[in-house]
């Protein structure tokens, strides 16, 4: 493992639970159109005639069901999971629908574990170049005027192993370090204003209360535009692994800037040059220089179904996927089935929101021949997601982060889908 691997999925051979064929049975039929193959009639019709298994009723219309419960759990037998590694976990996009990632499946990345924090004792300190250094309790923060926004968070290392060749087997491997939630919190500008930020302040240090005291310097004018101090995710308190009880969320910026377990913000005149913005989250170029403060996650898309590890059958296939841009809203997604020679517009599922995953769909008929499936995102700034060749020509293969090239899935004549690069 090298210095930077912790922000990327492990190579497939290092993962115990990678490389499995998709498990198709009566209980997982909802996990995507492409995975229906193999289930065939048995899978689809099973609920009507297969014998009941433990915990389920053969005749649910003949026996009373269970009572209401204080906190719901998913249906018995629904088993999709994050893929967990030492420092992160990956969202199973091949099995998800719509744009909201269930909170329990939102990807994780932490730098020394998930801290246990008592929200009654948690405080946010704002100090440095301010008129009044202030200490806020969670009760104080929740009382401020709040906003709710649906936003993606993408780790800068998402798809990072693809720099060196087709590494991930599934879309969970290749694109699992991103998720979308509905975030609720207080605009950072509102809270900073309470402290009276001095005109000389140009940067702000955000620091977590985890065992890494995770820290990033952020340009003040940029984060005053739309950063949020979030206390809720998908309608309830943040999950512990997402920063409970308080997380900075910066729309469209690399996930490591969205400091979790936030406890301190310090205003200063210059970047603080912490480990994270010098030796870690910087992008090495072929000439030996490194790009610093590369915050924005550029436009990107991926077909989530059919995707690596799945198998399709001839006939109708709805190609489904996600597109997003850190610079704003998705304007268009195009689909190619011939490796990028001819492009067809995909349908964008409303809502199409800035800094948010957009679901796209494309009705297609597979004739059983070998094909190369690709999606290509164009955002509202007219930025077009690059080919792998163009991206590598510009940056080489050693920059570790911000890989946003067009993803190619190859479908062979047997209908098996694999990750390839063209």
């Amino acid at each position: 493992m090298n210095l930077f691997d912790e922000d990327m999925p492990r190579s497939p051979t290092e993962n115990g639970n990678m490389g499995q064929e998709p498990r198709i049975d009566r209980r997982t039929w909802l996990t995507g159109a492409a995975s229906l193959v193999g289930a065939t009639a048995a899978g689809l019709l099973a609920p009507a005639w297969l014998p009941a298994e433990e915990g389920e009723s053969a005749r649910p219309t003949h026996v009373p069901g269970r009572s209401p419960s204080p906190y719901g759990v998913r249906a018995q037998g629904e088993t999709i999971e994050r893929l967990t590694l030492a420092t992160h976990s990956l969202t199973p996009h091949q099995s998800l629908h719509g744009i909201i990632t269930p909170s329990a499946l939102h990807f994780e990345r932490h730098h020394n574990g998930v801290p246990l924090i008592n929200p009654d004792r948690h405080r946010l300190l704002i100090h440095g170049m301010v008129g009044r250094p202030l200490m806020f309790s969670m009760n104080d923060l929740v009382r401020f005027p709040s906003v709710t926004r649906t936003l993606f968070i993408e780790c800068s290392g998402n798809s990072g192993h693809e720099w060196k060749g087709p590494a991930g087997k599934t879309v969970q491997d290749t694109h699992g370090l991103m998720s979308t939630s509905e975030w609720t919190g207080v605009p950072l500008a509102t809270v900073l204003s309470e402290s009276g930020v001095k005109p000389e302040a140009l940067w702000v240090l955000a620091e977590g209360s985890d065992a890494a005291a995770m820290t990033r310097s952020l340009p003040l004018a940029e984060v005053l535009k739309n950063a949020l101090l979030c206390y809720a995710q998908n309608g309830e308190a943040l999950r512990p692994e997402q920063g409970y009880p308080l997380r900075l969320v910066i729309p469209g910026w690399e996930g490591n800037t969205c400091i979790k377990w936030l406890r301190r913000m310090k205003l200063g005149t210059a970047p603080f040059m912490t480990h994270e913005e010098t030796s870690r989250y910087t992008d090495l170029m072929p000439d030996g220089t490194a790009r610093q403060f590369t915050f924005v996650m550029e436009a990107k898309s991926v077909i989530t179904s059919p995707s690596g590890g799945q198998r399709i059958e001839p006939g109708f296939v709805e190609i489904r996927g996600l597109a997003w841009s850190g610079r704003g809203a998705v304007r268009a997604v195009d689909i190619s089935t011939d490796g990028g020679r001819i492009w067809h517009p995909a349908q964008l599922q409303e809502p199409v929101l800035p800094h948010c995953h957009t679901r796209f769909r494309f009705g297609w008929r597979w004739n059983g021949e070998e094909v190369l499936l690709q999606s290509r995102c164009t955002d509202e700034t007219d930025y077009v997601q690059p080919t792998r060749a163009a991206l590598v020509a510009a940056r080489g293969v050693n920059s570790s982060y911000h890989y946003n090239a067009i993803q190619t899935w190859k479908v062979d004549q047997a209908g098996q889908v694999r990750n390839v690069q063209v």
Binding site: N112, L125, H127, A212, M273
Partner: protein, 184 residues
């Protein structure tokens, strides 16, 4: 938004009128939330160290002291000489950044020596972060800089000397030029 702004102005006005007394957060903030932080509270959390040396505490450390502490508290993850791993390689890699096999270490990549103090105190050792004394951190910084050929064996690191260290890759960083990939 207009409604919130109007409410806020009213609240602010009331605060000024009704809470006349010692000047504090409640009187000055638009919403009157939060309270003034004390010096003690700020000092307890104010651990960052910047390139100009701000934030460096008193204390001092030598290369020899650092060698002992590294062997006891760091070598398990970083190897006896800081090159063997299994975790991040800390030493060597000089001149490798523009090759096909770049090795990013403190010596080859880190632009500021002060970041070493900040990060070692903040986050190391991995199993006991923020447990080292300032003398221990200065000593580790001295040993790591010496191992990378940046300071001599008899150098002493403290709040005065550390900010003066010029790292080899100090000028190796550029600002974000994106979008940088031409559209076909």
């Amino acid at each position: 938004m207009f409604r919130y702004s109007a409410v806020a102005r009213v609240l602010f006005g009331c605060g000024v009128l009704l809470l006349a007394g010692p000047v504090g957060a409640e009187e000055n903030g638009l919403y009157g939330l939060g309270r003034l932080a004390t010096e003690t509270e700020i000092n307890a959390w104010n651990i960052d160290v910047t390139p100009n040396g701000a934030g460096l505490p008193s204390g001092r450390g030598t290369v020899q002291q650092g060698a002992v502490i590294f062997a006891n508290k760091c070598a398990f993850c970083h190897g006896p000489s800081g090159t063997e791993g299994p975790k991040d390689r800390l030493v060597g890699g000089h001149g490798s950044l523009a090759t096909s096999q770049p090795v990013k270490t403190i010596g080859s990549y880190w632009p500021y020596a002060t970041t070493l103090y900040d990060y070692i105190f903040r986050a190391m050792p991995f199993t006991a972060p923020q447990s080292l004394t300032s003398d221990e951190v200065y000593s580790l910084v001295a040993w790591l800089l010496h191992q990378n050929g940046i300071i001599p064996r008899d150098a002493v690191m403290d709040a005065r000397t550390l900010p003066t260290i010029m790292m080899p890759n100090r000028d190796g960083f550029v600002s974000d030029p994106r979008p940088d990939v031409p559209i076909r």
